[in-house]
């Protein structure tokens, strides 16, 4: 099978949306043991997520995807955050713990890779889904009613009967639906999904993706979808941000990034993944491995692995600059911006 990539034009380009979240020079420092020193894991990221927009954050293990997402919700007590995270006009990093707590679940919600570690084995499904609402002071009967409605919406069949079931009675895919229901019952405007399908078998993964797709369309819900699997984002997201060693190196609409990746790392990632619809004798392999945050190379952090590097690359850190409809952090594209 041969695939022809249409280049995005006016008709396929995503419409400009009102921003829901604006992240500005966000850094996340994590403490190193008890020494008092710390290591910068997320090294100044900027991005926006529009109202109802579906954005994928991709990158390899350790690149800082989860810590970036968790910083938006201020989930890590030990993390030192700086920069700005503007959510609908409020700077989340300046909010009191109490106000931040109220926002979690109601404005921003998160689902994680491993549903089992998130579910309380001793609590019924119905109670767990309703809990977010109960915390907000909604009455028991009403909370239960809404929990049922969400489980229904997410395709849990015989939801009414299963409100009183326990997590172990559910399959992996069903558990992920329950976790999703817990996140959605508070009617958030942004859902952060951190590798929600990684632990699932391919058929179940596909169902969960369809589900997320439907829910976000129906509710106008913005989704930040975190994954290391480019295949998963292609059919789901409108925009993709590629992260490498704590920074965003490319950000663009999905069609352009896949049709014409600008950053050498993005190019490599796309070429390195075997495809079920493609024959190749040898896979393209990026040499080396991603650096640990404590040994981040000077200049462009990708330079030791980059087959297009030149003298500047080892010295200067490239900034994330506009290139066409995308943003790219690579010296090759300096001055080629729009």
């Amino acid at each position: 099978m041969r695939i022809v990539h249409p280049m995005p034009d006016e008709s396929t380009a995503t419409p400009v949306r009102a921003p829901l979240v604006t992240v500005d020079r966000l850094t996340v420092d994590m403490p190193l043991g008890r020494s008092g020193s710390s290591v910068r894991i997320v090294d100044g990221v900027d991005f926006t997520i529009g109202v109802g927009e579906r954005v994928a954050l991709v990158g390899e293990s350790g690149s800082g995807k989860s810590l970036t997402a968790r910083a938006l919700m201020r989930l890590d007590r030990l993390a030192k955050l700086s920069g700005r995270v503007d959510f609908d006009g409020i700077d989340l990093l300046k909010l009191s713990d109490r106000d931040m707590g109220k926002l979690r679940g109601s404005s921003i919600a998160m689902v994680f890779q491993d549903p089992m570690s998130f579910l309380d084995p001793l609590m019924t499904i119905g109670d767990q889904v309703a809990e977010t609402l109960r915390i907000r002071g909604i009455g028991k009967a009403e909370a239960r009613k809404r929990a049922l409605a969400v489980l229904d919406e997410l395709g849990v069949d015989r939801a009414a009967e299963r409100l009183d079931a326990y997590p172990h009675e559910f399959s992996g895919g069903m558990r992920q639906r329950v976790v999703l229901a817990m996140a959605l019952v508070g009617e958030p405007r942004l859902l952060i999904a951190d590798e929600p399908t990684t632990a699932l078998d391919v058929r179940v993964q596909d169902q969960v993706l369809d589900l997320l797709d439907d829910v976000s369309t129906r509710r106008g819900l913005a989704v930040l979808f975190i994954t290391h699997d480019l295949g998963v984002v292609a059919g789901f997201a409108e925009r993709v941000m590629v992260m490498y060693s704590g920074r965003i190196v490319e950000d663009g609409d999905v069609a352009s990034v896949f049709a014409k990746p600008n950053h050498p790392y993005t190019q490599g990632l796309i070429k390195a993944v075997p495809r079920i619809d493609q024959d190749l004798n040898t896979l393209y392999a990026i040499p080396g491995a991603p650096p640990p945050p404590l040994a981040r190379p000077s200049g462009c952090p990708f330079h030791p692995r980059c087959d297009q590097r030149f003298d500047r690359c080892g010295k200067d850190l490239p900034a994330l600059l506009p290139v066409g409809l995308s943003r790219v952090a690579c010296h090759l594209l300096d001055g080629k911006g729009a």
Partner: protein
């Protein structure tokens, strides 16, 4: 035919419940120099088959024959030859290598056990040669694996298995724990070794795109049964069984055009 698995069945004890049968009448063959993929969902029995092929566990029914050796009942010299000629690589490049051994000790262990080289110098030379072959730097021979990346550790595991010149390499999810950009290095290495050493590879994976890339023969498992087996072309281009078809249809394609079209088509189907 190098190895034949003939109608094997395997149960695990599930006390207090009755033993659970996880393999039902599984039959498959491995030919010299061929790469064969075992695919199927979690719990379908892939690892159980791999363990039977390595004689780490024994099936209650059926027979496994390797180059004239009855694997299930093998003893003495037969068993030793089998242990030398059929090697393995596992998923976890962290757990499977002893952190207290140097790279040389890890890779050279098999040479020592099977007494393949008379002197330490000869052993060292063979380890160096193997390291070179899998893309490691022989100067790193005296280092411990702690400081190696996942991809490098998986190379060490592969070198360790290949240094004694096996004829079959059984790999259980060897790239599942690796980063995307590193995964390709290991797949290319396996492919290269298969050609250079005329090695048969049994490749267990849940990633069908990787299996399609590497394996010329594929066995599809579902709930401990072989639902379909055939050549790469038969399985990927003309799958006969609905289960295989549904498995293939769910594989994500890193292409927004294909991905969206597929999802839209499915919506139409469910709407009608």
């Amino acid at each position: 035919m190098l190895m034949s698995i003939d109608s094997i069945s395997k149960s695990y004890n599930a006390f207090p419940n009755p033993p659970a049968k996880v393999l039902h009448d599984v039959t498959l063959n491995v030919d010299t120099g061929e790469a064969i993929g075992l695919v199927g969902e979690s719990g379908s029995g892939k690892s159980t088959i791999a363990k039977c092929m390595l004689a780490l566990i024994k099936p209650e029914e059926g027979a496994i024959t390797y180059d004239g050796i009855d694997v299930i009942h093998a003893k003495g010299e037969d068993l030793r030859r089998f242990r030398r000629e059929v090697q393995m690589v596992f998923q976890d490049p962290y757990g499977s290598l002893n952190p207290r051994m140097t790279v040389e000790e890890l890779i050279g262990e098999g040479i020592l056990i099977h007494k393949l080289e008379p002197t330490a110098a000869a052993r060292r030379a063979r380890v160096a040669e193997m390291m070179e072959m899998v893309g490691l730097n022989p100067n790193d021979m005296d280092r411990y694996t702690r400081s190696f990346s996942g991809g490098q550790r998986q190379r060490i595991a592969i070198a360790r298995a290949l240094v004694i010149r096996p004829r079959i390499l059984v790999c259980d999810e060897p790239v599942a724990a690796l980063d995307v950009s590193v995964q390709a290095q290991v797949i290319n290495l396996l492919q290269d070794m298969q050609k250079k050493l005329n090695l048969a590879i049994v490749f267990v994976a849940h990633d069908l795109a990787v299996v399609r890339h590497l394996c010329e023969k594929i066995v599809v498992l579902h709930k401990g049964k072989v639902v379909e087996q055939g050549t790469r072309e038969q399985i990927f281009d003309k799958p006969q069984m609905p289960y295989t078809q549904s498995l293939l249809a769910a594989v994500p394609v890193p292409d927004p055009v294909v991905g969206r079209a597929r999802r839209a088509a499915r919506r139409l189907e469910t709407a009608n």
